[in-house]
Symmetry: C2
Subunit: 116 residues, 2 copies
DNA sequence: TTAATACATAAGCACATTATTATCTATCAA
DNA sequence: TTGATAGATAATAATGTGCTTATGTATTAA
């Protein structure tokens, strides 16, 4: 079960700190409606692969995102089972859509859209 | 005018980072409904005065809070004129009330409740 | 005027965070 | 198999953050 309210001020601060990085915030906003793999993030943010992986690890450790392996790719999405899902969703509501970045990727033919 | 939506991902991340510290988040939640002065924060968080002042400065620089001098005290409150007021308010909705901390202060007779 | 209280700010240090580089595993395609 | 691609992780370097200490200003009370 997830409610919008957070039980402790420390936990709330921890989640806000995680979202308080522009790369992570943008990634989380992006996977609100899309499933993305690591190499897509690398292209979108012009960042190194380890840098992206480390951001994702923090989000995964906090159980805000979940991963799904599909062949050689690992796809990330928002963890809807998280206790904090609604809290995060409430914040994302006020954050500008990042879907343009994905469209840009598609235009370059770099979007990973594998079967199934 | 303030809307819940933030124009840029960078600005949103900046605000979330500011709120992503448990002392600052608690202070902001506290002054959602109360006006507090620096020395009260010092008592409440058992922190040094410069430490509290530095937190408040960051919040003030981002225009999330405003100050009001009253004699020797400086009282802080949420800046309702801020462009980001509703965004902050939306987050605070999910954050547990910190009013108990003020009640505790009153019990100890340390609450500054000056005239007017 | 003097002392005390409230607060701000600057400098320095300790610790946390982020990015890079290097290396390792897993999957897929030849 | 072998090579290439995707990704994770460890070690390290660069940067940022938050705290303490020291000091300055403003206000009040003596």
């Amino acid at each position: 079960m997830s409610t919008k309210s957070i039980d402790s001020i420390e936990k709330a601060a921890q989640i806000l700190k995680l979202l308080g990085d522009k790369t992570r915030l943008s990634m989380v906003k992006l996977i609100e409606n899309n499933e993305c793999c690591v190499c897509e993030f690398v292209d979108i943010y012009q960042a190194s692969q380890p840098s992206i992986s480390q951001h994702l690890r923090k989000l995964r450790d906090a159980e805000l995102v979940k991963e799904r392996r599909k062949g050689q790719w690992v796809f990330y999405s928002l963890n809807k089972e998280s206790q904090y899902y609604e809290f995060v969703l409430g914040i994302l509501e006020s954050v500008p859509s990042q879907d343009e970045r994905l469209k840009e990727l598609e235009k370059q033919g770099l979007r990973i859209s594998c079967c199934e």
